[in-house]
């Protein structure tokens, strides 16, 4: 899971895809995940960070991350070709 190079995220949760001109808003936990991906974290590492920071059980975090990843894929914001 790798953030595409043409995607920028602001501190306030604004996502911009320079390649398409599309923009998105993202909630704080989404932003937290985005930044982890940006810094090269693997999925397992992202889960661990979420469990450490947020009051949530692992199955919920995993399920929601999987869904989030699929949405990011559909918006063409991340690259999963090498997974």
């Amino acid at each position: 899971m790798k953030l595409k190079s043409n995607v920028a995220v602001s501190d306030s949760g604004f996502v911009f895809n320079a390649a398409t001109g599309d923009s998105y808003s993202i909630n704080p936990i989404g932003q937290f995940i985005f930044n982890l991906i940006k810094n090269g974290a693997t999925e397992e590492e992202v889960i661990k960070h979420i469990l450490k920071k947020y009051s949530v059980d692992r199955p919920t975090a995993e399920k929601d991350l999987y869904d989030f990843k699929k949405i990011l894929e559909s918006y063409k914001l991340i690259d999963t070709t090498n997974e």
């Binding site: 937290f32 995940i33 920071k53 947020y54 009051s55």
Partner: protein, 453 residues
């Protein structure tokens, strides 16, 4: 765990400035955590989920407010609680304690009102389906019978012939009030002369005591003026009866149909923004009656059978999120533990739904499904809500009217119903259904009682 942050699902939403969408804008800004001071979470903990909750305070406030509004405009006003709107006995009795009579549309409802202790002469008997036995009982009890069609009229004349006392009757009148669709299925038409013909028949037999006129011009009426037209036409009939038959009518019954603050599907504005307040209905009706030309001393009583507008906002449905899923087209779907079987009104309302716990600033467009294994079980087709997690609680607003009386026992057992009293104490007013509740009246023939697999 306590030093960790509250979890919210990660959400990303495309920004489409200026484009229209079917989800509309965000509506929920604060969690709805308490009803009359009682925590939603505590109610669910004690009585389970889903659960219906009624606020006694709101029920009483609504009827008192409606009475005040009408009584300040007209000298003789009587409300009759519309049993079909919600006939849980505890609910009916709140209205009876507030002075409301009963308005019933079937023998079952008639018996219920009697059992609740309503004096029979204060039970208005409406509806197109009254058997001979129903008519006999109501006539003996001196209950006002609102005649719906000629067959009923002739049967009642036959019944009255065998009685000492004349049954008290009113005729149900339908009419063009300027709204579409026109409700012409109940009673006799005003414009084509059916109503006047029925009145003349009643007066000619001498066996019935014509005491009133009734109309039910529609339901969820968004135009108060239509009531003014209806009241004027009924008053016109009353004046003709006085002129031709030398008889003063005791009452004019304007039926029900005042809208509540729910939002109808397909309407652009929310219910709260588009529905006339009760004062507008009252102004239209009472102005028409007072100005119709009836002598002040001979003004008839004004009966009102208001149901929905008096109870909708006193009822809440509390529920819990079962799961979230992503649909094939990318929409988010949230599955709730309550469905259309107990929330029948979700077929025609976009119910307001509030999360019952704190949430963040971000929202998601989603579809809300019920728990039934049926494709039609959709509570909201499009709604914008904060991300909800499995186990989160929600509150559905304005569910007091019709959901209890029209609920279906389908797939799931129906939930408990709670009333929070004036002091903030919850009381169970209907227990949750059990398997035994449903099987009590089932009969399995002996030869079907055993099988081997």
């Amino acid at each position: 765990m306590t030093d960790k942050m509250q979890y919210e699902r990660p959400v990303i939403k495309p920004l489409n400035t200026g484009l229209m969408n079917k989800f509309g804008t965000r509506t929920e800004y604060e969690p709805f955590t308490h009803i009359d001071g009682v925590a939603v979470a505590d109610i669910i903990k004690e009585f389970g989920s889903p659960v219906f909750v009624f606020s006694e305070r709101k029920l009483r406030e609504n009827i008192r407010n409606a009475r005040r509004i009408f009584e300040t405009r007209y000298p003789k006003v009587q409300f009759a609680w519309s049993y079909k709107t919600n006939y849980l006995n505890a609910i009916c009795n709140v209205y009876h304690q507030e002075g409301s009579w009963a308005e019933v549309v079937s023998r079952f409802e008639y018996d219920k009102a009697l059992q609740n202790g309503v004096p029979p002469d204060k039970i208005l008997f409406n509806g197109p389906d009254k058997t001979d036995s129903d008519l006999e009982l109501a006539a003996q009890n001196n209950s006002p019978i609102h005649i719906d069609h000629l067959d009923e009229l002739y049967r009642l004349i036959d019944i009255a012939a065998k009685m000492k006392n004349k049954p008290r009757v009113a005729i149900r009148v339908n009419m063009d009030t300027g709204v579409y669709p026109m409700w012409d299925r109940f009673g006799f038409n005003y414009e084509n002369g059916q109503a006047w013909d029925a009145i003349n028949k009643i007066m000619a037999t001498g066996k019935l005591n014509l005491t009133g006129l009734h109309t039910h011009i529609g339901t969820y009426m968004l135009s108060a003026e239509a009531y003014g037209v209806a009241a004027y036409k009924l008053a016109d009939l009353a004046i003709n009866i006085k002129n031709v038959h030398k008889k003063n009518l005791a009452y004019i019954d304007m039926g029900g149909g005042f809208a509540s603050h729910n939002t109808l599907k397909g309407s652009y504005q929310t219910g709260a923004d588009s529905v006339p307040p009760i004062s507008q209905y009252a102004e239209a009706i009472t102005t028409a009656l007072l100005n119709a030309g009836i002598n002040t001393e001979e003004l008839p009583w004004l009966y009102l059978e208001t149901g929905r507008a008096l109870i909708d906002d006193a009822g809440f449905l509390l529920g819990t999120v079962i799961s979230n899923k992503r649909l094939a087209d990318g929409r988010r779907a949230t599955i709730m533990d309550f469905g259309v079987n107990i929330l029948f009104t979700s077929f025609w309302y976009n119910h307001k739904i509030s999360p019952a716990q704190p949430f963040g600033n971000y929202t998601e467009d989603c579809v809300l499904y019920g728990p039934l294994c049926m494709n039609i079980d959709v509570v909201r087709e499009n709604v914008t809500l904060p991300p909800l997690n499995a186990g989160d609680h929600v509150v559905v607003h304005h569910v007091g009217a019709y959901n209890i009386s029209q609920s279906m026992q389908f797939i799931n057992l129906r939930p408990a119903v709670i009333m929070i009293d004036m002091k903030g104490k919850p009381h169970m007013i209907r227990k949750q259904e059990k398997l035994e509740t449903l099987e009590r009246d089932e009969v399995v023939p002996d030869y079907l009682s055993k099988f081997k697999l």
